[in-house]
Structure formats: C-alpha cells, structure tokens
Symmetry: C2
Subunit: 143 residues, 2 copies
Amino acid sequence: MTRTPIDEPAERQLLRDAGLRVTGVRLAVLRALGEHQHSTADTVVRAVRDELGTVSVQAVYDSLHALTDADLLRRMEPAGHPARYERRVGDNHHHIVCRACGAVADVDCTVGHAPCLLPSDDHGFTVDLAEVTFWGLCPRCRG
Amino acid sequence: MTRTPIDEPAERQLLRDAGLRVTGVRLAVLRALGEHQHSTADTVVRAVRDELGTVSVQAVYDSLHALTDADLLRRMEPAGHPARYERRVGDNHHHIVCRACGAVADVDCTVGHAPCLLPSDDHGFTVDLAEVTFWGLCPRCRG
DNA sequence: CGTCAAGACTGGAATGATTCCAGAGAACGA
DNA sequence: TCGTTCTCTGGAATCATTCCAGTCTTGACG
C-alpha cells in the first residue's frame, strides 16, 4: 500500500521560502498533515512511513519541530493527550477537544484577532497569545 | 527541618464533606497547595515529605487524583510542562504561563461566567468548559 | 473499645511521549 | 563536483505518570 511520492512544487516552495532544506521527510510530513489535520506525531510517523518506507521516529520529530519553528505547522497539546499538529497557521484559531475520544476540531477566533482576548489582570506579564480550548463531547461520543 | 503536623479542622472537614477519608497525605497535599498554588506533583511530593517524612510518589498522585475528582483541587497542564494543581476551584478562572520559566498566574474570567465563551461553530460538540491560557513572559524573565 | 472490610499507601516495575547522542548520509551553494 | 552544514538513523535515556500486588489505616458498626 505504498504510495508513489509525488512532486509537490507548492510544498517544496513553502519549505524553501521558509529557509528550510527540502527533504523527503519534510514533504511527507506536510502532506500527511494536509490530509489529516490534528494528527499526533505517532500518526504522522505512520503516514510518512506509508509513503517513504523506513523513516526513523526521530526524523519525524525533527521535521515537526523544524516546520513548527518555521511557522509552517502549529502544535497544540490538549491536557492529558499527546501533542497534535496542524497546517492551519497564522490565524490563532482555537480548538474543541472531545473528553471521551480526544477528537479535535477547529473553532474560529471568538473575539477579533489574535491575541483575541486580553487578561483582566496580567500580573505584569507580557502576553503574546491567548489560547482557547473548549472541552466537551463530540457528536459521536455523545450518543 | 521537619514541620510538626498541625491539626487542621477546616481541611479535615473539607475532606469529610467531600466523602473522602481523612489521611495524613491528603491533609499535607492540601496544605502544600495552600502554601504554593500551581505546584507540580513533584513539588507537592517534596512538600509532603518535608511534613510527614517518607511518603511514596504514588500516594501523592493518588491524593491529587482523589482531591481533583472531588473538586477540592483543579488540575491544569500547560503544553510542554508537567501538570500543575491549585486549590482555587469552582470559578473557572484562567491562567497566564511564562514561556521562559513556566511560572503560572491566575487571571479572572475575561467574559462573564463559565463557560465564559462560546465557540462560534461548535461542530456538533457539546461544550462544557472553555479553558483560556495566556502565554507570554513574566516580569522576571522579560528583563 | 475492638472488629473488619473498604479504601489508602508502599515500593518497584512498566508505560508512553519525547529527547539525547554519535555517527552515517543528503542537500545545495560555490 | 566538492565540501560544509544540516538531516537522518538507531539505540539508549529521560520524565511524568500509571500499573501492580501486597501491607497498613480509617472509620462504620457492634
């Protein structure tokens, strides 16, 4: 069930523009997350191996970090769950997490732009981001 | 530097009212978190041992879970950091986390009551809580 | 005030996600 | 094409947390 690696000019360009080297693992990671938003590192590893064959876990973690640092990916980490990655970046949208199955869905920013909220008392902190996580049950688990 | 265990009628009552047995570890955990809000399990273990002598890590985790389940404690877990516990419960306040040192401070609910925000599109989820985490730099680390 | 069953605690091993490390391999500017 | 720099490999290590089986406590009841 190995897919043929497809040349993705758009994604190659994305990497180059970010000043990153173009490698098979990075392209495969981008593609995997394009197909399944909010995947865990583990899921990405499986998808990348499905496409490229043998790839070390570390290579995938390295790519996830490089891409996240370059703002090509966003990392989110719901309490009690492994980190998840997504390609929707630059808009500080938020997330709903299912308490039962851990499913994650996107939610547009509730109020204005990022940081879309300001703390009532910032205790002297310099705030640069407001992260909102909604918790509940997804349609499936509610049944 | 072992402190003498002090009888804390208020905290004994708290446990009893919650239907929990009163044990030394639980009282010590409550006291530790009364003195240092937003402590990690590890910090609580040290504080409890400082008060009671030998106590297993597991006993502290068990207590933290029991107290959290009974709503005597609240657990929060900033991405990339171990979980932290606090005694301020029942008001769904929020938190500011320092990106540099991990320090946490409380922030009152920005808008109305808990859940203080409603998602613009809930994707069919039943939302029961909105958790807001502000990220930035604390006064100390900004310097 | 003693009994005893449910619940809590001990200590050691296991788990899961992630990171560290040293060496081999690949990307790309010159 | 070459060499430098960055990336990938594979295996071990780390950290927070949980699992497990056996022992000890708490507190309801007699």
